[in-house]
Amino acid sequence: MPTIDLETASLRDLNQALHSLGRDEGGELWEILNPRGSHAVAVGVDAPLEISVHGSVGYYCGGMNQQASITVHGSAGPGVAENMMSGSVVIKGNASQYAGATSRGGLLVIEGNASSRCGISMKGADIVVKGDIGHMSAFMAQSGNLVVLGDAGDALGDSLYEARLFVRGSVKSLGADCIEKEMRPEHIELLGNLLSKAGVTDVKPEEFTRYGSARKLYNFDVDNADAY
């Protein structure tokens, strides 16, 4: 069980050690101590590891993650799990802005609140936020699922493509071209699976409202020419 203390080791030492592992080397639990808000903790990992970070991290923790299961016992700065490809990132505290930005795969769980632009331009990942999310979340989100157990801020899903948004609480306002949609049986099933993957057992999928794209911005409408 490797332990890296960022009080004494440099961030470069940590990430280099993680990057030098082969893609199939795994199973180990890596403990990271004293991050004290450091940037880029455990970025670009591509091995099936368990990584446990004890404390709060700064920008881009777990960015570009593949395969690894990263848990942060603290809060995360901007851009946590940005461009994640697979694996999982779990934040026990809160996450700052653009959590899971452009993430392509894997699961991001935020046990507290996420700030603005959560899931911006997400492209296939699953993001589950147990608290609230801030304004402009899921802006131009392309695919994947954003699940919010609390409330959403202003302009949710502005210019949304095909990502699915599930919100249990209130939505302050919807962004352009984002609309409420019917919860069909396949959505209940999908959401049930996502909740169980995120370890949520006390909330039912039926409690959520689904939002998605009205698909009116997909093609240029000549009636809007004056707007440009």
Partner: protein
Amino acid sequence: MCGIVGLFLKDRELEPQLGRMLSEMLVIMTDRGPDSAGMAIYGDAADGKVKITVQSADPETDFAGLEDSLKAVLGDDVSVAPNNTHAVITVDEAAMEAARNLLAENHPTLRIMSVGEAIEIYKEAGLPASVVQRFGLSGMSGTHGVGHTRMATESAVTTMGAHPFSTGADQCLVHNGSLSNHNNLRRELARDGMHFETENDSEVAAAYLTAEMKKGKNLGAALESALSDLDGFFTFVVGTKNGFGVVRDAIACKPAVMAETDRYVAFGSEYRALAGLPGIEEARVWEPEPATVYFWEHQ
């Protein structure tokens, strides 16, 4: 980029450590702004006295004989305490205008950093650690303070372009972001009698708040008006004699983290800046909401 730190003490026992705590926070923010750094410290207010903090490019020449030259006109109740490129001139409140006029006429190479009962501003180009060291900021005590590490975007890297900006007695502002309507606003404020030292957008924000407070608004109300009148990106931390305020624009893309315990309220551009504060593990840590004014005042 740019880095901001701020500390408002609730526990008076921490006051002797204000400079040290704020300096450590400032140096951690070096990689957000290595061009220049500055700090406003509120402390040592004496009844009936005003402190004028001045800066000189040639302190040896400018500060030699400065006290005598001021005393010759203002009387004996003047003191000058040089500190590297800066000096704190203390005068009777009643002599403040006369002292300012005298400085402008007879000592045009001195640049005024701040004026007020409690405020002292120290700022220079260079790495934050060297700015902290040259002024001995770590040893200063006070009730509250704000600091800034600058990565210049809107105007040149000079002492006067560094933050904090002070445009009114005991007021200061630090800014992370960029304003897009500052030229227009500068013209309007200049027409109303505000004076500008630089082409910097943040100085306009400071002057705007000063002008709003001159109309009778308190800091909170002035910050509320800023939300509708200032266009652009901003996270501001603002100091007044008794208070400390924070506001972010509605988009809120410039980072901000705050922490509060029963001993202090702290602001950092990043959590890193707060990580060394006493009791941070138990503090309430949160991200200030967009377009929301926060302020604290000593009674």
